[in-house]
């Protein structure tokens, strides 16, 4: 009896000690100690980011003295209703760049699954060994604070008053905006046919536009029909020009005899604010060696632009549109704060590019236009 009592007390004590060890982060410490090499350190960090276990992820950093946890979380999870706040880390690839006994540099390509499709984020990370553990030196993010100020908004705004539902034949109504497709070029790629060009709002009122294309075969029968979806700036202010791109996967140019274009435009309320500057545009190569057009978006208004999309048209020496591509920015555009963007450009197309123009699509929660 006494022996049993004694055994029971020991067991209970061990269980309590064990619980206390877990609560004090002992398990975490144990798991952290298990990052035996630089790659494992980054993989473990990425897994924590995937699980949105920020405490554990932050514990894997080597430079917690330099970077505060809220800033680290904001860097990865996003803020201000940006695209990143609607995203989750789907997968990642890690590969080493260089290594010594206690330091290494690796490249990680984070594949984010967002509300508008996949977005890649490539970062080079330093990893160092401290006390037998490999920990990640996370780059300290720089967040520009927007100084408090009053920004007057005096850009033009358009409101629409339509005719009522009563059908009084001949009663005056406002016409739909006049838009015109000013160019259309078919481009064949290995896996698809792409129709691209530009559309202009020729009118003096804002227009919501969409462009569809129907491919006709040798017998003038419809082969396929697609729309521009988000590869166009749908809201066009007066005299604004937008590129458009319509993809036909699996179609060859030889199958197509002609293309029937169809542009639709309707009147919408709109505002000429915000104005977004596209600065420092240049064609370069990204860390993975792909050709890109990169630059910075600067929101010149006083309101936050939650989600921005850069839509690029590339022209050859004759001014013909030879490529259209787009890239979403997963950070919000704070007022007067530059945010980097990049859009892809195929190598073979990059050689022929003479000029380009960027149009910025934007969405703000507080402004539906």
């Amino acid at each position: 009896m006494k022996t049993l009592l004694g055994l029971g007390i020991i067991i209970i004590t061990l269980v309590l000690v064990g619980l206390q060890w877990v609560n004090s982060g002992g398990l975490t410490q144990h798991e952290i100690r298990s990052a035996g090499n630089p790659t494992e350190a980054i993989e473990a960090l990425m897994q924590d980011v995937q699980a949105k276990n920020w405490d554990r992820a932050y514990a894997r950093l080597a430079n917690t003295n330099d970077i505060e946890k809220p800033a680290f979380i904001r860097d990865l999870a996003g803020s201000y209703g940006s695209l990143r706040t609607y995203s989750s880390l789907d997968s990642f690839d890690v590969w080493p760049l260089r290594a010594t006994a206690d330091q290494a540099k690796l490249r990680v390509n984070m594949h984010w699954s967002t509300a508008i499709g996949p977005i890649d984020d490539v970062r080079d990370l330093n990893v160092e060994q401290k006390g037998g553990n490999w920990k990640v030196d996370w780059p300290v993010p720089k967040f520009n604070d927007v100084p408090p100020q009053v920004v007057p908004v005096n850009y033009l705004r358009w409101d629409i008053i339509n005719r009522g539902p009563e059908d009084v034949w001949g009663e005056q109504n406002v016409d739909s905006p006049q838009v015109k497709i000013i160019s259309m070029n078919p481009v064949e790629r290995p896996d698809r046919l792409i129709i691209l060009g530009e559309i202009e709002n020729e009118d003096t009122v804002p227009a919501y536009v969409n462009v569809n294309a129907t491919l006709l075969d040798q017998n003038q029968n419809p082969l396929s029909q697609e729309g521009s979806f988000d590869k166009i700036s749908h809201t066009l202010l007066p005299k604004q020009v937008s590129p458009y791109r319509i993809d036909f996967p699996g179609v060859k140019l030889s199958q197509v005899k002609s293309v029937r274009m169809d542009s639709k435009a309707m009147l919408i309320p709109a505002s000429a604010d915000p104005v977004i500057e596209v600065a420092g545009q240049q064609i370069a190569s990204d860390p993975l060696g792909k050709r890109i057009l990169k630059g910075q978006l600067i929101n010149q208004s006083g309101q936050v632009v939650n989600i921005a999309q850069a839509l690029a048209a590339f022209y050859d020496a004759n001014g013909k549109v030879i490529w259209v591509s787009d890239g979403y920015v997963d950070q919000a555009l704070l007022p007067q704060t530059p945010v980097s963007f990049a859009v892809d450009l195929p190598d073979d197309v990059a050689k022929r590019v003479q000029n380009s123009h960027i149009t910025v699509n934007h969405y703000s929660v507080n402004n539906n236009s």
């Binding site: 850009y155 358009w158 034949w169 020729e202 420092g280 545009q281 630059g295 010149q300």
Partner: protein, 288 residues
């Protein structure tokens, strides 16, 4: 004898029965809309009168031998009517047409509601003439079209309707503004408004001034080739090219001019465009 009397009786009965039958209806060939008229009947006894028209279908009891009164409310809609009288002996009918009365309304279609200045056959106007019952007036009617714009001579043209419709087209004026387009016939008048808007920007010019860390770019007042100010809100693209890259700003016109503030970045070439109209280039930091 019995057979004779029987035959006679039969004949008398036949005559009597025939007396109760309605005779053919006599209706006018055409009636002007909204006019009442009478349909004489013969015979005796009760009958049902049916009047089927484009906008109505009525049925009522009538006495044969009395005239059937067709009220003015029953002939409002132009078109073909079928009048039928049915009694115990069967039905008889006739048809007639109701035609429109005098002009009372114009359905006036004017397009577009916005038109660029100085464009040929830009404004079209179509007028359908209806009477007070909304019947199309098919008799030829004179319709006068007028286009008037502030500080510009009025343009007027008269057309005669054919099958109830008259139309015309005219050029938009060189001056922008609200043009009033009217169609009139006698006392009837309908008005519409067409906004004559400036065309594409013409002679687009910019000036660039370096102020500290920025270059302030401003256009001259933006006008079309007829001198009309391009409306505020129209987008102007300002582009700066340096050896460090390119910067563009799509900025709307405000109070007649478009402005942008670009970063100072050494020697720069600044250009401007609006829609498909291209303006001048300015070099900053080097010879202009």
């Amino acid at each position: 004898m019995t057979r004779t009397f029987g035959f006679l009786g039969f004949m008398i009965a036949a005559v009597l029965l025939r007396g109760a039958q309605a005779a053919d209806l006599q209706v006018p060939k055409q009636v002007v809309a909204g006019n009442a008229f009478s349909i004489p009947t013969s015979g005796s006894g009760e009958a049902s009168f049916y009047l089927q028209g484009p906008g109505s279908a009525s049925k009522r009891k009538v006495q044969l031998g009395n005239a059937i009164e067709v009220a003015e409310e029953e002939t409002r809609d132009a078109g073909r009517y079928i009048a039928t009288v049915c009694s115990s002996d069967g039905c008889n009918g006739a048809d007639f047409f109701v035609t429109a009365s005098g002009p009372a309304h114009l359905s006036f279609l004017v397009h577009p509601s916005r038109v660029p200045v100085a464009t040929n056959d830009a404004i079209t106007a179509t007028a359908f003439v209806f009477d007070k019952f909304h019947n199309l007036v098919l008799q030829p009617v004179k319709v006068e079209f007028r286009v008037s714009l502030k500080d510009a001579p009025e343009v007027a043209r008269a057309e005669t309707t054919s099958n109830g419709v008259a139309w015309m087209s005219m050029n938009s004026s060189h001056k922008g503004g609200l043009a009033q387009v009217t169609a009139s016939s006698g006392d009837i008048l309908e008005k519409r408004v067409v906004q004559q808007v400036p065309s594409d920007a013409c002679n687009l010019r910019i000036r660039a001034v370096r102020t500290g860390k920025f270059i302030n770019v401003e256009t001259d007042p933006v006008r079309d080739c007829s001198g009309n100010p391009v409306p505020d809100g129209t987008i102007v693209s300002i582009t700066q090219v340096t050896d460090k890259g390119k910067t563009t700003v799509d900025t709307p016109i405000k109070r007649g001019v478009a402005k942008a503030q670009l970063p100072e970045a050494g020697n720069a070439t600044i250009s401007v465009a609006s829609g498909v109209a291209i303006g001048n280039e300015v070099r900053v930091g080097g010879a202009q």
